[in-house]
Amino acid sequence: MKTSLLLKHCMRDPRYYQIAVLSSLLLFGLLILDFGIRWQNALAMVPTALFVQFLGTRLAKLPRFRHKHVFNPANFALVLLMLLSDRAWVSSGQWGSAAIGAFVLACLGFLVLTRARRAETSIVFLLSYGISLFGRALWLDDPISIPLHQLQNGALLIFAFFMISDPKTTPDAAFGRCVYATLVASVAYTLQFIYYQPNGPILALIMCAPLVPVIDALLHGPNYRWERSSPPASSKQQSIPFKGAF
């Protein structure tokens, strides 16, 4: 009974699914993968994350263009945290490759729930990034296992399906989103493999975000609204601040 209620909620608004998946990943990381976080820290993380997310969301939403905020709140909060504190970093390798099957399933689940609406951002990003990695391997005459290993990264999949996919901060037109995803993938590749910076995708997203209004100005499309099918229209529940996690 409870399960079906949860499913109903998820079907109504994919953000519930998103929260469920990301919370499960966090627990999986803490309990199974041993992220090396103490329980005290884990408990302290909740209010800290909420505060940073709140701050990030508010600050990220400050720059607005055509009723859309420019920066992805989760991305903005992450970069803000890394800039403000020398005690914050992104551990992109900690997911390992063993759990990659579960990751793929979770990401596909997201596609199903959103009925693949606006899924081109995630798919084009992964395709462009993957092509760059395989192209690099081809040029260097590296074995195919190298780009495959680089793609089997949990953090990359979380980024592709739960961060860059945010429909409120991506271009309105489908073609615009494809252009944007390709751009983010190219900048991410450049940062990661030419400038040798860790966290290429996260930095690429914040660097490319100001280009969304430009793309929107050139390519018009419908403004996205989170779909809420069954509950009454009177429901004033607003967007949930938690949008992505690494």
Binding site: G36, R87, W89, S92, G93, G96, W139, D142
Partner: protein
């Protein structure tokens, strides 16, 4: 932003000893000596874009057969190369080594505690002729520099094609493993140069060293990684690499592989004291297997200013500076005489990583990042000796506790190492039961 060139890599050599520490690259010998890589020890000092790498080796054999080839990111000048002190790397190894700690149970009949501890470390413990240059040019290989540093003759090579470089190395009696051309080609396309070193016998006999000292290279580059691909080429099976990182802010971790803490603070049976090496080896193998052979293991992460318990003293300011920690003791004014003063906070954080790798499970070079994590961690295993003195009171309760504890230790040991639990139990001197075992009544029914 500056265009960044590629990184460094390390070298290669072989080692035959049981606690082999060799370079992590591939081995090239000048003669047909049958040698293979076993393990490598690399010290990485990193702050910002500045890196100092120290490659230690315990090469055993005819030094005439020793040669290393190291991919490096930029042209390396004479002043960027140094020959270090092997004892400092050994000291760092001892300081960061996983340790066994021993406690003795107090006399259960005494009302006060007698408590002693002991730390037991089980330490794993030519000049280039002109004609050579001409020949090199004809193969598309450029000898960009040649130096004699300490007992080493060093060449910095660049090449247009990997084929030319491989051919040149072969012509100069370097033994190149099969498959090297492809990997060398990949590094060349990433604008890397090659650092080639061999032993200058004349210089070595003048210096009088009986062993090869570690080579050190300092460079500035924001790629923080360690190429391991070359090292898999001539290796027979998996090989081990130890990376000691000395940083300013916190521990390092790999960004493209999982970095996992080894189980620590585990109580193990007493007999492990005499089998600690086997215990650690098997426990490590078990953990490698649990992580699907794809993880890098953290063995030690600690502020260099202290230790608890100390497997060895922290490194002195001079030793750290010799390893390349350039941000301390700039003017020698922080030199501390340890005999009269304790080690002060050094603003140096040490990380010891241990990776067992092969090309199948580690296809890509190791890429690192410095984190802000300064939580101390050490591989620490505990032995608790039961009281063995003459009892002056009824100690049956104490003995029952000891039996329970020993059984728990046996199970923990079996889980950690994969050893057979019955064989473990046979090695444990369980105290004799003087009273019926407590527990469910049916346990005592027919026994």
């Amino acid at each position: 932003m500056r265009v960044l060139v590629t990184l460094i890599a390390t070298a290669m050599t072989i080692a035959v000893a049981t606690t082999a520490q060799a370079f992590c690259g591939f081995y090239v010998a000048r003669a047909d000596t049958s040698l293979f890589n076993k393990a490598s020890q690399v010290v990485l000092v990193r702050d910002g874009d500045r890196t100092v790498i120290t490659m230690a080796n315990d090469f055993e054999g005819d030094v005439e057969d020793f040669a290393i080839v190291v991919p490096v990111p930029t042209l390396i000048e004479r002043e960027q190369i140094n020959v270090g002190d092997r004892a400092i790397v050994q000291h760092l190894d001892a300081y960061t080594a996983p340790r066994l700690v021993e406690y003795h149970d107090p006399d259960p009949c005494m009302r006060y505690e007698r408590f002693t501890t002991m730390e037991d470390l089980v330490a794993q413990s030519a000049p280039i002729l002109e004609k050579v240059e001409k020949k090199a040019n004809s193969l598309g290989v450029t000898i960009e520099a040649s130096y004699t540093v300490g007992e080493y003759d060093i060449l910095i090579l660049s090449a247009q094609q990997s084929g030319g470089l491989i051919k040149w190395l072969k012509q100069n009696d370097y033994k190149i493993p099969r498959g090297a051309e492809r990997v060398v080609g990949s590094y060349l396309k990433q604008d890397m140069h090659f650092f080639v070193a061999k032993v200058n016998l004349e210089e070595q006999s003048k210096l009088g060293y009986q062993y090869l000292r570690p080579l050190q290279i300092a460079y500035e580059n924001n790629k923080f990684m360690l190429p391991i691909r070359l090292g898999t080429l001539n290796a027979k099976g998996k090989q081990d690499l130890y990376v000691y990182a000395l940083t300013r802010s916190g521990r390092i971790e790999t960004t493209n592989y999982r970095t996992v803490k080894l189980p620590s603070d585990v109580e193990v049976p007493e007999f492990v004291q005499s089998e600690f090496a086997e215990f650690y080896r098997d426990m490590f193998a078990q953990q490698v297997s649990t992580e699907n052979e794809r993880a890098v293991f953290l063995e030690y992460a600690w502020d260099m200013g202290w230790c608890d318990p100390c497997a060895a003293d922290p490194l002195s300011t001079k030793e750290l500076r010799d390893l390349g920690v350039f941000w301390i003791g700039e003017n020698g004014d922080q030199q501390i005489n340890r005999e009269v003063a304790p080690i002060p906070a050094q603003n140096v954080f040490v990380t010891r990583l241990h990776v067992r790798y092969d090309s199948e499970h580690f296809p890509e070079d190791l890429v690192f990042q410095e984190t802000g994590d300064r939580q101390n961690y050490q591989g620490r295993y505990v032995i608790r000796h039961p009281w063995k003195g003459k009892a002056s009171c009824d100690i049956s309760n104490y003995q029952a506790e000891v039996r329970t504890r020993q059984e728990r230790e046996a199970q923990q040991l079996a889980n950690l190492t994969g050893w057979d639990i019955d064989s473990i139990r046979k090695k444990i001197p369980f105290p004799e039961r003087t009273t019926p075992e407590k527990g469910p009544w049916w346990k005592r029914l027919w026994s």
